[in-house]
Symmetry: C2
Amino acid sequence: MSDDARTTETRRRLIEATMETIRTQGIAKVSARTIAAAGGVNQALVFYHFGTVDALIAHACVVSTRERVDSFRARFDAVTTFTGLVQLGRTLHEEEAALGNVTVLGQTLAGSQANPALAAATGEALGMWTEELERVLGRLLADSPFGELLEPRLLAELVSSAFIGIELVAPTRVADGYAAGAGGIPGGGGAAARTMDTAGDALARLEGLARSIDGLGPVARRALRTALRRV
Amino acid sequence: MSDDARTTETRRRLIEATMETIRTQGIAKVSARTIAAAGGVNQALVFYHFGTVDALIAHACVVSTRERVDSFRARFDAVTTFTGLVQLGRTLHEEEAALGNVTVLGQTLAGSQANPALAAATGEALGMWTEELERVLGRLLADSPFGELLEPRLLAELVSSAFIGIELVAPTRVADGYAAGAGGIPGGGGAAARTMDTAGDALARLEGLARSIDGLGPVARRALRTALRRV
DNA sequence: GTCTATATTTAGATAGAC
DNA sequence: GTCTATCTAAATATAGAC
C-alpha cells in the first residue's frame, strides 16, 4: 500500500472514529486517546495528520455534514408541500438515530461556546443544512398564505436551530428522577416521569399541522392571507 | 461568623462561580479548579461541599433555574395573547444575554449526552421552564383555532427545546470564515458572511406572526378552525 | 507514515494540619 | 469549615526510532 493511500485511510478512520466517539460519549469525553482507541490507530497520528484534537473535530464535523447533506439534496429538491417537508424531517430524524450527524452538531455546538475555531466549523456545517432548507422553504412559502410574513432564510435558520435543540433535549427525556449529590436539592426530585419522545412525537403532530396548511381550500387561503396582511 | 453561615456563603459562591464558568468558558473548561478560581475559594471545597464536580454542576443547574423561573412566573401568568407570549420570550432572550441561564442549560444539555446524573438535572431544570410554558399555552390554545390540533404539553416541549437550540446556535453566527487545520477542508471556506442575530430577529418576526393570529377576526377564525378540522 | 516512549499540564480526589 | 500538600489518572503534544 502506498503512503498516499495509507494517509487517506488513516485520516478517514480518524474522522469516523471522531464522529463515533462524539456520538457515543459526548464532546466532553473526546480526546486524542479515545478517538484513536475507537479507530484502532495510534494516538500520535491525530497530531501528525490534524495538528490538534480541535482541528480534527472541526474537520470531522464539516466533512461528515457535507456527506450527509449531499445524500439528502435530491430529497430536499423533491419536496413540494409542507407535509412533504415535515415527512423529510422525520426521515432525517430517524436516520439520525443511526448515523447521528445532527447529534454531533449539537455536541460541537456546545463545544463552540468558548472555542472560536470549533464555532466556525460548526457554523459552516449548520449552514449547509440551513441552505438546503432555505431553498425548499423559498419554494413553499411563495405559494402559501405566509409568503409575505416569513422570509425563507430566517425561517430556515429558525427551523434548523430548533431541530438541533430538539435532538439535544431528547436524551434527557428518557431517564428522569434526579439524584442529588452531597447536600441534596432543597425541594428537588419529584416531578412525574416524562416518557415522551419529543422529537418523534412533535414531528408527527407537526405533520398534521402541515397537512392542514397544505389542505386549505382557496377560500380559507384567501381569508388567511387577507387577515395576515392586515397586520 | 458561624460555621453554618460560612457553609451557606461558600456553597452559594461555588454555585454562582459554576454558572459563571459554564457561561464564559463552556462546560468543557469547567473543573474544580476553574470554578474555585472564579469564586475565589479553595479547590478542595468543591469536594467537601458537593462530593464531585458533576454534582455541583447538576445542583447549580437546578437551583439557578428555579430562581430564574420563579422570577418569571408572574410574567408568565400575566400573558393573555400569543403576542404577549412572544414578547415575554424576547424579554427572556435579552435578560439571558446578561444572566445566561438558558446558555448554561444548553451547555449542561450537551454534557448530558454520556452523563446520566447531569441528564437528570438538566431534564429537571428544563422541565421547570416547560411547565410554565405549558400553563400559558393551555390558556392560549383553548381560545385559538389551533386548540384541537396542538396539545399544550407537546408544544411547550417543542418551544422550549427550540429556544435552547436557538440560543446555542447564536454564537456561531457571529464569527465566520472557518480556518482548516493541517490538510485543509476540500472545497471548504467561502460562504458569504452571516450577520444575523437569529434569536433576536426570529423573535421579532415571530411577534408579527403572533400579532396576526391574535388579530384574526371572527370570520377568519371560524374559517381557519373549520379548515383545520377537515384534516 | 507509523510506533514507542516521554515531557508537561491539568483534572479529580483525599489526607491531615489548622 | 477551610487550607496546603499530594497522589493518581488522563490529556496534549513532541522526539526519535523504525
